[in-house]
C-alpha cells in the first residue's frame, strides 16, 4: 500500500436496510460517507439485487419489501457516497490520532479486487447483518442442504431455483415466505416443517399490542400460509429434520415428531423425497468486527447470539463505533431502517453537525417506533426459535460440527471427557481445531458453545465465544504481501 491512507467522516460497514437508512440520514451535512459491502450492489441480504445485466421484472414484488425498496431506490448510485462494493473489512481497530476533531476514530483494512487498503474513519457504523444459524444433524453437510436464506438469495439475485423438489425445515416463519417465492418461480415445495406445535402461532394473540403494531407482517404471513395450503403444500408442525440422505447430494430427508423440550420420538417418522433442503431455524448476527475492537456483546439465545450493546444513540461501548440492524438483535428490515436513522442522528451529534437537541428531534419518532419494534422482535424471537435442546440433540457421533476443519461431535465429546479442565470455547478450539477454518467459526461457534455448556452444565456466558481474531475474513497471501 502506498501513500497516506484515505480518510472518511462516516464509514458504514454493510449496505443493507440499516446502512442505507443511516446514509440517507447523514447525507446533506457535508460529510464524506463511505459504504463497504461484499456484494456488488446495495440492498443487503433482504434486498439482495441481481447484477445489472440480469434485471428481472418481478424482483421482490411482495408487500413486505416495499418500504426498504423505496429507500434503496432513493439512495442507490447516490453520487455523494463513496461506494466500495466487492470489498471486505478485514480488520477494524481504534485510531489513536483520528482525522478531524470531535471524533473517536477507527482505521480499517479493506480487501477488494485491487488488494488491501487502509482507510481512516472519524466514525464507523457497523451494520453487518446476520446469517443462518445451522442446525446440525446426520447428513447436514450433504450438497443440497442449505440455509433457507441461500435458497432465497439464489432466487432473488440469480433467478435460480435451488432444486427440483425443495423441503423447508425450521422454526422461523421466513420459511413460509421462501416456500411461496419458490412456488411463484415455478419450483416445487416438498413440504414446510415447523418445530413448534401448530398452536404456538396462536399465542401471539396474548400480545394484542404487538399484533396491532405489526399487523401487516402477520396478515402477510397468514396470506402466504393459506396460499401454500391452496397449492397443496404440506405444512407440518411439531417436527424436525433428523437426517438427510443421499450420495453426492441430498435425495431424501427424514422428519420426526418432537416434544416441546426438543426430544425426538423414534416413531411416526416421515420420509420426504427432495433434492434440496432449506434450514430455517433462526439466525446469528455478524458481530465479529465489534467484538474484535472490544465492544461489549451479550449472549441472546433467541435474538441471534452475541448482540452488540449500545446506548440510546446506537453507539457501542467503544466510542465512535455505532451499530444498527440485526447486530443489535434480530428484528427484521423495518426495524433495521429505524435503527439506521437513530444511528445516523447519533453520528451527526458525535461529529458536531447537530447539537443534542436537534439530534433528539430527528430521533424521537424513530425511538418510539423502535420500542414497538423491539416488543415485536422479542415476541417473534421466542415464537420462532426451536426448543434449546434441539441444537445439540440431533447429532450422531460422526456428525460434522465444524465444516471447515471437519471436526465431528465425537471429537468434541472425546476432547471434553479427556481434558476435564476445558471450560471455554477458546480452549476447546485450541484443542480440537473447531472454528479455526476459513469461516472462522461463524457457522459452528454457537453449537460448539452449546455442546460445551450442556456437557459442563454451565451457561453460554461462562463458555464465551471464540476470540474474534484479525483478519476478520481470510485474506489471500498475495494481497497481504503487496501491502
Amino acid at each position: 500500500m502506498k501513500g497516506a491512507p484515505a480518510q472518511t467522516d462516516v464509514l458504514i460497514i454493510g449496505a443493507g436496510p440499516a446502512s442505507l437508512a443511516a446514509a440517507s440520514a447523514v447525507l446533506g451535512h457535508n460529510l464524506s460517507i463511505t459504504i463497504v459491502d461484499e456484494q456488488l450492489r446495495p440492498g443487503g441480504q433482504f434486498l439482495r439485487q441481481p447484477p445489472r445485466c440480469m434485471q428481472a421484472h418481478n424482483w421482490l414484488d411482495g408487500r413486505l419489501y416495499r418500504p426498504a425498496k423505496r429507500l434503496l431506490q432513493t439512495i442507490e448510485d447516490h453520487p455523494d457516497i463513496d461506494w466500495r462494493f466487492g470489498t471486505t473489512v478485514s480488520a477494524l481497530f481504534p485510531d489513536p490520532q483520528p482525522p478531524g476533531i470531535g471524533a473517536a476514530g477507527h482505521s480499517v483494512w479493506l480487501t477488494g479486487a485491487a488488494g488491501m487498503e487502509r482507510l481512516r474513519a472519524r466514525t464507523v457504523l457497523l451494520a453487518s447483518g446476520c446469517y443462518e444459524r445451522p442446525l446440525m444433524f446426520p447428513g447436514w453437510t450433504l450438497p443440497g442442504v442449505m440455509g433457507a436464506g441461500a435458497i432465497q438469495t439464489l432466487l432473488k439475485s440469480q433467478q435460480v431455483v435451488s432444486g427440483d423438489r425443495i423441503l423447508l425445515v425450521g422454526s422461523h416463519p421466513l420459511q413460509l415466505i421462501v416456500a411461496d417465492q419458490i412456488l411463484k418461480a415455478g419450483g416445487k415445495v416438498a413440504g414446510v416443517v415447523f418445530s413448534q406445535p401448530a398452536l404456538a402461532g396462536g399465542s401471539i394473540l396474548q400480545h394484542p399490542g404487538v399484533l396491532f403494531s405489526h399487523f401487516l407482517q402477520f396478515t402477510e404471513i397468514a396470506r402466504v400460509f393459506f396460499r401454500l395450503r391452496r397449492a397443496g403444500v404440506r405444512v407440518i408442525f411439531g417436527s424436525a429434520i433428523t437426517e438427510a440422505k443421499g450420495t453426492g447430494g441430498v435425495l431424501a430427508a427424514t422428519i420426526a415428531p418432537i416434544d416441546s423440550m426438543g426430544g425426538v420420538s423414534g416413531t411416526g417418522t416421515t420420509e420426504f423425497e427432495c433434492d434440496a433442503v432449506g434450514l430455517c431455524y433462526g439466525f446469528l448476527v455478524s458481530s465479529e468486527l465489534a467484538r474484535q475492537v472490544g465492544a461489549e456483546a451479550l449472549w441472546s439465545e433467541n435474538r441471534g447470539g452475541w448482540l452488540v450493546q449500545h446506548d440510546e444513540w446506537m453507539e457501542s461501548t467503544v466510542p465512535g463505533l455505532f451499530v444498527a440492524g440485526e447486530v443489535t438483535g434480530m428484528a427484521g428490515a423495518d426495524a433495521a431502517i429505524v435503527e439506521g436513522v437513530i444511528a445516523g442522528m447519533g453520528i451527526l451529534r458525535s461529529l458536531g453537525n447537530l447539537d443534542t437537541q436537534q439530534a433528539e428531534l430527528g430521533a424521537s419518532d424513530h425511538r418510539r417506533q423502535r420500542e414497538k419494534n423491539e416488543r415485536f422482535a422479542r415476541c417473534l424471537a421466542d415464537l420462532a426459535s426451536p426448543p434449546h435442546a434441539l441444537w445439540t440433540g440431533l447429532m450422531a457421533p460422526e456428525t460434522i460440527v465444524c465444516r471447515c476443519e471437519t471436526v465431528t461431535r465425537q471429537e468434541l465429546d472425546d476432547a471434553l471427557s479427556v481434558h476435564t479442565h476445558i471450560q471455554t470455547a477458546d480452549a476447546l478450539k485450541l484443542l480440537t481445531r473447531i472454528g479455526m477454518g476459513l469461516c472462522q467459526g461463524r457457522l459452528c461457534h454457537s453449537t460448539a458453545a452449546q455442546v460445551l455448556s450442556v456437557t459442563r452444565k454451565t451457561s453460554i456466558e461462562n463458555v464465551g465465544s471464540f476470540h474474534a481474531a484479525v483478519p476478520a475474513r481470510p485474506v489471500p497471501i498475495n494481497k497481504l504481501t503487496n501491502t
Binding site: E38, L40, Q45, P50, P51, R52, C53, M54, Q55, A56, H57, N58, Y131, E132, P134, T141, L142, P143, G144, V145, M146, G147, G149, A150, I151, T153, L154, L155, Q158, Q159, V160, V161, S162, G163, D164, R165, A185, G186, G187, G248, G249, L251, D275, A276, S286, I400, R403, C404, T406, G437, L438, C439, R442, L443, P474, P476, N478
Partner: protein, 105 residues
Amino acid sequence: MILAFRVEKVVEQRRTVTIHVNGRPLAAFEGETIAAAMLASGLRIFSYDRDGHPRGAFCNMGVCYECLVEVSGPRGSDKRRVRACQTQVEADLSVRMLGTATARP
C-alpha cells in the same frame, strides 16, 4: 431428477458465457455467479472434505466458504481460490474443484 434450474421467463435476454469446470465446458449467463451456474447445470458438489465426502454451497452469501474453488484464466494464468457464490463467471474462466472423493490417508 432435474435439480436446480433457471427461472427463464422473467429475465431479459442475456449473453451466454462459457466457463470450464473440472475441464468440461459449462454454459452460463453473464452476471451469474460460478455457484449459480454450477447449480443450474446440476453440479451440486463443490469440493470433497478430508474424508472424501462431498460438500456444496451452504450460505450463498460469502460466510461459510463451503463453495471455495480454484479458478484460473486462459492457460492457467492468475490461479486463485475464490468463493464460487461471490464470484461472477467470465469467458474462459476455468474452475477446479478442491479435494478428491477418496479419503486423505
